[in-house]
Amino acid sequence: MWYKILYAFLVTVGGLAYGLLLGGISRKITARIHGRRGPTVFQNFIDLIKLLRKKTAISHGTMFFLAPMFRLLGGVGVLLLVPIVYGSSILSNFSFGGDLIVVLYFMVFGCLGMALGAADSGHPHSALAPTRGLAQMAGYELPFLISVIGLAIAHKTVSISGLVAAQQGGIFHWNLFQYPFLSIAGLIAMLGMYMAYPFSVVMAPQEIPVGPPTEYSSTFLSFMFSGRSIFGVGKYVLFMDLFLGGATNLVEAFVKTFALFLIIVFVTNVFPRYRTEQAVKFFWTYPVVIGLIDFIRIFIK
């Protein structure tokens, strides 16, 4: 057991580094699309160090104090509950703890924590942002659930390892090709899940300065920042396991998650922003209709 914990720690650190790196790459790509030079790809590391070593910090109350920990915990939990490499007892981490349903609900843990912390800060914008986030969540979860339930019924399992196992044996066994419509619905939901443009109304830097973490500073912010990075990686791995057939070694995992990452980056940089209700309506129409094609196919079978 102890070595598992040790590896879990290493995976967490690795996930953090990978997440920060992806963030940096994203900034770089955005800059290049703008025709700028952009920051170095390690800019996020520098930002994190700076935030960590700020010399003062303020707290608004208990919940404000605890929220970054919830956030970090939610991120780490998701990363560790999802098996990264198929067949590896070490890199499947703590996936014995629960199946896909557990992961789905544990994902909310961090978000809820952050929302509460934000609300505790007493800043009206911080409180506004979570309501937008939760509304948008109700939007993107519908197509996501369609694809998850469809896959679970199709493969007769909700265990993530089981789902990965069902996709082994060649590229055309991937759910992306087996159930393309479910996968499209799921991937559109992924855009919402990452709160990337066009679904970025939660953070909305122009209207409500930075969304939930308006009042967060220094160490708190660094925790949230790293939690978010780890959470992002966890979600990439989850989507990889669901749609891209998982990975049999680390390199494959990197390649596949990077591919997912690229989808988001390129979509993000070419779209303006939806309002909340527009986003919700979007999620409840196109991806749902697309997803239902496969869903009904599975239902009839």
């Binding site: 800059a31 030079r37 920051p39 800019q43 160090i49 700020k54 003062t56 308006t214 220094s218 912010l221």
Partner: protein, 191 residues
């Protein structure tokens, strides 16, 4: 609970530093300057070109944020009225240390063309510590970037210690501030 304790009424503490890793952290600080998007005067129009494609301040790690809590740099962009000064003080005190102030334009240096105006603060550094002045009326984005380069250099060398001076000499600054702000309606200490 007290009848009213909307605001924390504690004096900021003097900060001590560990010198061991300080150089490394100063480097990190210098490479990651988050500017609060707060324009006090006409100079703030020069900041958008600075951070967008043309001059691209982000390549130096300079980016903008919307809240003083997360910001490292406050730019006093141009003339500063007494009314604005109050807000500037509050924003500045709400920022987390270490924090830096860039004075932009001639007005912040000595009042500039408004040197004899009844409502322009001539010497900003009497009220908040300024780490870098960028002269000009208005300075172009290149000049501002040069100012930032200067600021980075100061930070790396550990000389950008305006935030420290402010805490150390808070009484002096407060006295100056109260001299021109007749009716001190903001809290004693802004947190």
């Amino acid at each position: 609970m007290k009848e009213k304790d909307y605001f924390l009424d504690d004096r900021p503490k003097k900060l001590s530093y560990s010198e061991v890793w300080e150089k490394f952290f100063n480097w990190a600080r210098a490479q990651s300057l988050w500017v609060i998007a707060y324009g006090t005067g006409c100079g703030s129009i020069e900041i958008p070109p600075m951070v967008t494609s043309r001059f691209d301040a982000e390549r130096f790690g300079v980016s903008t944020v919307g809240t003083p809590r997360q910001a490292d740099v406050l730019i006093i962009s141009g003339y500063l009225a007494v009314k604005t000064l109050k807000r500037v003080i509050r924003v500045y005190e709400q920022m987390q240390s270490p924090k830096y102030v860039v004075g932009l334009g001639a007005c912040t240096v000595n009042g500039g063309m408004y040197y004899d105006s009844y409502n322009t603060v001539n010497l900003v550094d009497l009220y908040i510590p300024i780490d870098v002045y960028v002269a000009g009326c208005m300075p172009r984005p290149e000049a501002i970037l040069a100012g930032f380069a200067q600021l980075m250099k100061k930070i790396k060398e550990g000389r950008a210690d305006g935030w420290k001076q402010y805490i150390d000499n808070l009484d002096k600054y407060r006295k100056n501030q109260e001299k021109i702000i007749k009716n001190w309606k903001i809290p004693n200490y802004n947190w």
